[in-house]
């Protein structure tokens, strides 16, 4: 328990000392909302809403703000967790070899990820409401934002465990995020109603956000889809962590006590 508490505390600290990421959140997020909001009119845009299998006519200005929020979270949280996982892997290995239980260590990393993403998603939704007239259900929008944050933070963690080149991970996150969130957006992609889009990581979160913003529905199957992406990425990432932090040679250790 004490090991878990220490691992949680320092996993947290590691994220909170990422001044660059927090600087981006404070400065870039409002500017990004403002710029996109300023150039997008309130015209209605058709959006394929899966909960009712129908097209929804949503306010284009608000819809672009919603997708902008989702997009910014994929990038910033993906980078934050990628950067810390990549940078601290050797240190984490050293801690594990010193005797830090790997299961508790993994649980602490997952807990820190859940809490940090929840807070950042809440902040991003609160800033969103300053630019948006009023979403129907702010909690549901936050849930969509939190899930997309969880998915990309877990993807970042996974890539951080896997890749040797730091730059490669950043490029992968940028490309996946760009393809994923851009294609979900009917303003950027008028064909955003294509069936294959439902297999993309941010699909469930986008549907949930749109449901919260413009409807009184709760798309539970889309929620499960988003949870599936998150759990999948997290389990693979932690599985790689487990393998990479194991002792590589079988040393026979005698137990003669020593002062």
């Amino acid at each position: 328990m004490r090991q878990f508490a220490a691992a949680l505390k320092f996993s947290f600290k590691e994220q909170l000392t990422n001044k660059f990421a927090f600087g981006l959140l404070i400065v870039f997020v409002p500017i990004w909302y403002w710029m996109l909001g300023a150039i997008t009119p309130n015209d209605k845009v058709a959006f394929k809403f899966q909960a009712t299998h129908s097209f929804l006519l949503a306010n284009g200005h608000d819809l672009i703000l919603l997708t902008a929020g989702l997009n910014v979270l994929t990038m910033i949280l993906g980078f934050m967790f990628y950067h810390s996982a990549h940078r601290s892997l050797s240190f984490d290995k050293r801690l594990a070899r010193a005797g830090l239980g790997r299961l508790g260590f993994m649980l602490a990393k997952a807990t820190a990820l859940l809490i940090v993403t929840a807070i950042v998603a809440l902040y991003t939704v609160l800033i969103l409401t300053a630019f948006w007239h009023f979403p129907n259900n702010t909690f549901e929008v936050w849930l969509g934002f939190w899930l997309v944050s969880l998915i990309y933070a877990s993807l970042g963690l996974l890539l951080g465990m896997l890749l040797k080149s730091e730059l490669a991970g950043f490029f992968i996150i940028i490309m996946v995020s760009m393809m994923d969130t851009f294609l979900q957006n009917p303003i950027g992609n008028p064909a955003a109603n294509k069936d294959f889009l439902k297999y993309f990581p941010s699909y469930g979160s986008t549907q949930l956000g749109v449901a919260g913003g413009f409807t009184h529905q709760f798309p539970s199957s889309q929620l499960l889809l988003a949870v599936g992406w998150f759990v999948g990425f997290l389990l693979v990432g932690l599985g790689i962590f487990y393998l990479r932090t194991r002792r590589k040679s079988s040393i026979q250790v005698a137990t003669t006590s020593r002062a």
Binding site: R2, Q3, A6, A7, F10, K13, E14, T17, N18, S84, R87, S88, S90, F91, K93, R94, L95, A96, R97, A98, G99, L100, R247, K248, S249, I251, Q252, V253, A254, T255, T256, R258, A259
Partner: protein
Amino acid sequence: MGAYALKAEHIQKSYRSNHVLKGVDFTVTPGTLVGVVGENGSGKSTLLQILAGELAANEGDVAVNGSIGYCPQQPVVNESLTVSEHLAYFKEAYKMTDTEYAEHLLDELHFRKFKDEKAGNLSGGTRQKLNLTLALMHQPSILLLDEPYQGFDWETYLRFWDVVKELKESDRAVVIISHLIFEQKKFDHILHLHEGKIQEEKI
């Protein structure tokens, strides 16, 4: 069979067709200081990583009597955490009740004034002191050090040898790997790693 701190038997390691270690055998007894020397690329760090459990050997066995402390050549620290946070974190990892000995090392290696400084802001030499402290703060039975005094100034170099002396006096074994060993008199044994084998044993 006498008491041993560490015993390596027939250690072999190859990277594809490059046979780095071709059957290394040696024993380290408690309270001794052993140096392992060899040219660049002779497999010294590979050997130490195998002894520390960081790397798997292709063949051979390693037996350790007690706990191991391993100090890698490049400091492995977390840039976001302060020196005292490192000590607190490793205290939990080693399941220790206090950091009394680590505190003693802060004084002995003369870097207490950096206790609240993040590792990312430390100089190379101070990082190396922290790296060393993390390896020996739990007072292991055998300490494996890979080029431990790189970046140390003369004063710290002398203090390092005081720490090694303390360890020896408390019956702990120390293995130091280096491409150059200046003060051979300090060592109980010097093993020469050449062409994948311990070629000679001096002193």
